[in-house]
């Protein structure tokens, strides 16, 4: 099949970027979008041009490395699918396809489709952990956890930190990411002692990174490859408000 790609090319964080057109031919509908970029890069290297930089690692949709905008939608047209898992059969033969990096003040573009997502790591470092004495692993089931809580915590923990929620949000808000991390820990007994303080610290870091605020419009939820729900954001808001009263 054929596709006409328009890809954001930017040499370095400070250089101006622009969309470049790359007509592709002889593509297989079984290829993933990333494999298509591999093919394009082989061709560019043979021609002596600079290959397109994009992030990737596991290529099975679980690591959170890959991700960019495809035709204006984070991770492209398929719900609950990262770009590495998105195959070309979901595109029409001859379609024009626009590939663009995530755009947010907190995600500076490093090169082409690759952005620096360290801001998300700093949000985790601000409070997305539990403080426990480390040592040998405790016995299983020492602390009972209800099935419902365990399931919901696991659903939130599915967040791979890809940044699609920020990219899809008109405010470039990191609320879904932060909410997922807060819900993941806050639903478990081990997460209780630092629960409200965690929300305060993580939200404070989100503010420092200049992510926008949440307008509850739901674009993040729709593009999330791990189907994190807006409920996680409400939980963050709840813990934040509770913490605003209880913490000193």
């Amino acid at each position: 099949m054929k596709l006409i790609l328009h890809i954001w090319r930017q040499k370095n964080p400070s250089a101006p970027g622009k969309m470049m057109r790359y007509p592709m031919d002889n593509l297989s509908h079984e290829m993933s979008v990333l494999e298509m970029l591999d093919v394009l890069n082989e061709q560019l290297i043979v021609k002596g041009e600079r290959p397109v930089t994009f992030e990737h690692d596991c290529r099975e949709g679980i690591c959170g490395s890959c991700g960019f905008m495809i035709n204006g939608v984070a991770h492209g047209p398929m719900p609950a699918t990262t770009v590495c898992q998105l195959t070309l059969r979901h595109f029409k033969d001859g379609e024009e396809v626009y590939l663009e990096p995530w755009r947010a003040h907190a995600f500076p573009i490093l090169k082409d489709l690759m952005v620096n997502r360290s801001a998300l790591d700093r949000i985790i470092a601000a409070g997305g952990y539990i403080s426990v004495p480390t040592g040998s692993a405790p016995d299983g089931n020492t602390i009972p956890v209800g099935k419902g809580d365990a399931d919901r915590s696991m659903d939130a923990a599915a967040c791979i930190g890809c940044g699609a929620c920020v990219a899809a949000c008109p405010n470039a808000s990191a609320a879904l990411f932060t909410g997922a991390k807060i819900a993941h820990l806050g639903l478990l007994p081990q997460g209780q002692p630092e629960r409200n303080k965690r929300a305060l610290k993580m939200v404070a870091q989100v503010t420092r990174e200049l992510f926008g605020s949440c307008s509850n419009i739901g674009e993040c939820e729709a593009v999330c490859p791990k189907e994190i729900r807006l409920e996680a954001i409400a939980r963050m808001n709840r813990d934040f408000l509770a913490g605003s009263w209880t913490e000193r």
Binding site: H6, W8, M19, M69, N71, G72, V73, Y98, E100, R103, A104, H105, A106, P170, N171, A172, S173, V203, V206, T207, L210, F211, G212, S213, C214, S215, N216, I217, G218, E219, E221, A222, V223, L230, E231, I233, A234, R235, M236, N237, R238, D239, F240, L241, S244
Partner: protein, 209 residues
């Protein structure tokens, strides 16, 4: 940031409560001149209460505008300084994406609304003793009546999203109840539009004279 959102939600909740009561009060215009004027007089019967209500409402309006201004600067100017070449919205409602437009326009409308019916400087005839007559004379000017209906349409859009979003902001979300809250927001916002707009529409149609 989250604190300002909470301010938006709480002040929005208060203003949402006000518009509902305001509509129920206004609908008494259909009970006739005497009943409506008596209601208007009742509202002003106790100056201390009247001013208490005015001060609370004005405070809520100021808080709502202040927080939205701060958040707007963050969201629209700072959080994404370079926009997308191509960006599509896939699930969000038109109402939710246009809060920054519907809000200020409704705010401007409120100022004109006060000028017209409270201060009597709206360009239509004004008699402080006859609010019913002011309504009738005010809405017999067709462009003004149409502007009111348009403004109520924008208020409907604003509350279509705002009336459930405020609960989410304050941490209330449940897979069973949030869909009900969304339905509540839709029903109430459309009800407010129909209720408020029925007054200028009835004057234009000659049902209220």
């Amino acid at each position: 940031m989250n604190g300002k959102k909470a301010v938006m939600a709480v002040s929005g909740f208060a203003l949402f409560g006000f518009v509902n009561v305001h509509m129920l009060g206004n609908l008494q215009v259909f009970l006739g001149r005497e009943a409506f004027n008596r209601y208007a007089e009742l509202l002003r019967a106790e100056p201390a209460l009247l001013w208490a209500a005015r001060i609370v409402l004005l405070t809520m309006v100021i808080l709502h505008i202040w927080a939205s201004w701060k958040l707007m600067v963050l969201n629209k100017l700072r959080a994404r300084p370079v926009g997308y070449v191509m960006k599509r919205s896939i699930v969000s409602s038109y109402a939710s994406r246009t809060m920054y437009w519907s809000g200020p326009i409704v705010g401007a409308f409120v100022i004109y609304h006060l000028m017209q019916f409270t201060w009597g400087v709206g360009g239509t005839s004004h008699d402080p003793k006859d609010p019913y007559g002011n309504v009738v004379h005010g809405f017999q000017v067709i462009p003004i009546a149409i502007a009111y209906v348009v403004a109520m349409g924008l208020l409907m859009l604003h509350l279509y999203h705002g009336a459930w979003s405020m609960f989410q902001t304050l941490g209330v979300n449940h897979p069973r109840y949030t869909p009900l809250l969304k339905r509540f927001a839709q029903v109430v916002s459309i009800g407010l539009f129909l209720g408020f707009s029925s007054i200028p529409a009835s004057v234009m149609a000659g049902l209220i004279q």
